[in-house]
């Protein structure tokens, strides 16, 4: 009975996603009173859409799982996810919007005028996107197996097929409204069970959660890691700076009519995310109370899904579980579709199409190339998710954030705020950041786990990787002033002049 309800709710969420992705524009109004100004996307709607796309499996299941498993130190994770938007707002949101670039490779090209750096950024975008997609597939498999007993590979496969179809059919990213609804859907699916469970908890006399000292006290030795303070700082840096380098986040900012709209959107996003992240700790603490130990075969990521049935046996618990499962699938689908769309776009435009055009002498059909890219964009991370051992949803997402923070954060921040950035400097910074972050990750996965400081440095490399990449960028830029792009001053004016100021330049031209 339980599995039936949950399966139905998962199926409904998938079906809605497919339908909306396929029908697309037909849902929008077709009337004669079409005043354009009324149709621009308001910052509030756009912020909901960003929230819908941003809150992934890691937020919906992973954060609660980590707090449940490792203790109060993990409360910093939601802080980091949210503060990332603050950094984005303060440092790059409005200038990026004014730059006219639509993707990170676009920005690299506009700012540095170099096709090679554009190509390097494209490869990184694809890599980060895939890294971020892997936990979405893991999460889907885990959820489906837990609530319906389906085989392990099925959940990820369903998400992959749905996303592949939606993106290949023309892309559901364009539909701001759909992603906005996804945010509220996820919030509702997480909030209602949380309040019901909290009410029951109060009625049962609020039993205290079963914890250890290491769980309950901050930065306790022997808790998370051998160097919890370092680990926390490093993770915070990765999350704060990584947000601006995620491919699917940036795209949304162009839907805003101007830089002011972009800033307003970010403020609203912070409020929406802050509200959402109040809920996972509730599940973690309740989990400590009702399920102090998990069976060895069950991962802590599933704590959110297990809680209702434990607290509230019977039909009510099943309904809540089905609700959570549906919400979780909404989280996987919305994030994965945004990511897959970004990755598909970059794959198609930068890597696949030039190759296809060369191979066929320019005869390849465009749609064909796009569909091939869409398939590649989802199938490779799915296969990777099958061969890699699940590290924990929030941990894998953290890795994607780390790579983004070590590569794009220095490029964006220096690119927006420093006119001395040279092409060689940017290239060296990207290479250092990517090499450091990916190298550390690979070492700790392949050779690890290591103990002591080595283990801490390798498992959370953002603390040294990001400053190192920034330093290399600056030093190489200073050493190679000859490769500072010649149009730098002009681009800087573009990036930093508010839209309302009519530049004298624009009038002189006529």
């Amino acid at each position: 009975m339980n599995s039936l309800l949950s399966a139905v709710s998962v199926a409904v969420v998938c079906l809605i996603t497919l339908l909306v992705g396929g029908l697309g524009l037909r849902l929008s109004r077709a009337t004669s009173d079409f005043y354009v100004a009324g149709r621009t996307v308001s910052p509030r709607l756009n912020a909901s859409a960003i929230g819908g796309e941003y809150l992934s499996a890691a937020s919906f299941l992973g954060v609660a799982g980590l707090i449940y498993d490792r203790g109060v130190d993990m409360l910093w994770l939601p802080v980091g996810y949210t503060v990332g938007y603050l950094v984005l707002l303060v440092v790059v949101a409005a200038p990026m919007r004014r730059s006219g670039a639509y993707t990170l490779p676009d920005f690299a090209e506009a700012r540095l005028g170099s096709r090679r750096i554009r190509l390097a950024s494209s490869v990184l975008v694809v890599g980060i996107g895939w890294l971020y997609l892997i936990p979405q597939f893991h999460g889907a498999s885990l959820t489906l197996t837990l609530v319906t007993g389906a085989p392990d590979w099925l959940g990820g496969l369903i998400v992959m097929v749905v996303i592949g179809l939606a993106v290949g059919a023309g892309g559901m990213r364009s539909i701001t409204f759909v992603q906005a609804v996804q945010y509220w859907l996820k919030l509702t699916a997480l909030a209602i069970p949380a309040f019901v469970l909290l009410a029951i908890w109060f009625r049962q006399g609020a039993p205290a959660p079963v914890t250890t000292t290491a769980w309950a006290s901050p930065f306790a030795a022997g808790g998370v890691d051998s160097h919890p303070l370092y680990w926390t700082w490093s993770t915070l840096i990765a999350l704060c700076l990584g947000t601006m380098g995620l491919p699917h986040v940036l795209v949304r900012f162009y839907t805003n009519p101007d830089g002011i709209g972009a800033r307003r959107t970010t403020v609203t996003v912070i409020a929406l995310l802050g509200f959402f992240y109040l809920l996972p700790p509730v599940y973690a603490v309740l989990g400590r109370g009702y399920l102090p130990t998990l069976p060895a075969s069950v991962r802590s990521d599933s704590i959110v899904l297990q809680l209702p049935a434990t607290v509230l046996p019977g039909l009510a618990g099943q309904i809540l579980t089905a609700m959570l499962a549906g919400g979780a699938f909404a989280a996987f689908l919305s994030t994965a579709s945004g990511l897959a769309m970004s990755v598909t776009g970059v794959l198609d435009q930068e890597l696949l199409r030039p190759g296809l055009a060369r191979a066929t002498g320019g005869d390849a059909s465009e749609i064909g190339g796009f569909r091939v890219s869409a398939v590649l964009a989802v199938i490779i991370p799915y296969l990777l998710s099958r061969v890699t051992a699940p590290l924990g949803l929030a941990t894998t997402v953290g890795l994607a954030f780390t790579v983004a923070a070590a590569t794009f954060a220095p490029l964006l921040m220096l690119g927006v705020w420093w006119r001395g950035l040279s092409r060689w400097g940017a290239a060296a910074g990207l290479a250092t950041g990517a090499g450091g972050a990916i190298g550390a990750m690979a070492l700790s996965i392949v050779g690890g786990p290591y103990d002591g400081w080595l283990g801490a440095l390798l498992s959370a490399p953002a603390m040294w990787c990001v400053p190192l990449a920034a330093l290399v960028t600056v030093v190489v830029s200073v050493a190679t002033p000859g490769s500072i792009p010649s149009g730098t001053a002009r681009i800087m004016v573009r990036l930093h002049t508010p839209e309302r100021v009519a530049l004298a330049r624009s009038r002189l031209r006529d």
């Binding site: 524009l25 539909i175 009038r507 006529d510």
Partner: protein
Amino acid sequence: MSGTFHLPTAAVTAGLMLLVLGVVWLLRRGRRKGFISEVDKATYSTLHTASKASAHLADGLTAEGAERAARHLLAILGAEALAVCDGSGILAWHGAGESHRREAFGHAAQVRDTGRTAVISTITCADPNCPLRAAVSAPVVSEGLVVGTITAYTTDPSPGLARATEEVAGWVSTQVALAELARTRTRAMEAELRALRAQISPHFIYNSLAAIASFVRTDPDRARELLLDFADFTRYALRTGGAFTTLAEELRNVERYLVLEQARFGDRLAIALLVAPEVLPVQVPYLAVQPLVENAVRHGLADKVGTGHVTITAVDRGAYAEIAIEDDGAGADPEQIRRILDGAHSRDSVGLGNVDARLRQVYGDDFGLVVETAPGAGTKVTFRIPKFAPAAHAPTGSRS
């Protein structure tokens, strides 16, 4: 052990591979450099230096470019120092005796006056070790005028240096002429773009005013609204801003246009507009949509009994925005449309060829208009705009 990852083995293998790669690279590099005679080498190195200098002279004689080029020019001449002046002052000094920089413009005065190469042997210096004792100055000539001078300073001038300076000045003259040519070409392209730009149809102005006149007595309020729309429309169409605008602005203007047309046609004209809000901030060439809509209205309603439908859609296609204008009117012979797009003049579809030419000029040949039509089957005109095009930026905020 099989199937597991043995770290030391992997490290050794990787190291060996790198070593092999390095050796191969060194070998190939050595081979590339061998077997060139000394004379060839000198020629190549001079040509190479000259090509480096020419990159900096691409904008003509500018202070920044001259500063960078002076180093390479000095290397070619082999003098002690080199000064580059234009008609009003010194642009660049490279080499020894920086203290003479101020005098360089004066040294070249004779050359500017006569236009001939001159040897200056009257350089005095308080420093006995200063290597600058004489100079050779040669003119940089563009279109028959002396636009600058190149002065080479040395301890003891030789006829060879005089000849070399003259030749280098001649070479710089060529570069300046090339830069002038490039500027002229840019200006010509801008002029062409301006000429291609706004072409408001005179029929439209006449018809709009006539339609407004018909409302002045019966519905003065509506007439006033229409006049304001007309004023806004003409302000937009005749504005002196940049060549680009946002799709939102462009569609707003299309809307004004449609309000005026509906005043004229009333219920005979039905319009549907389906615009994805995501594409509204995309930069489009100014007046790219309106002429196509005007065509659709004209052809959609011509010789038609009953209501004509015009549909305007704008969709997000990832890296592109796709804009389509469709009517269910008489359609046209595809052959005729092809001729219009090939540049044949037609009084019937001024806008079509114009918009097509401008789109191709800005975004390249992949981004022209796509027209689907047949006699009696209506017409659909589609085009794509890349959301990011480095060449195309609207001057943000100019709304004059």
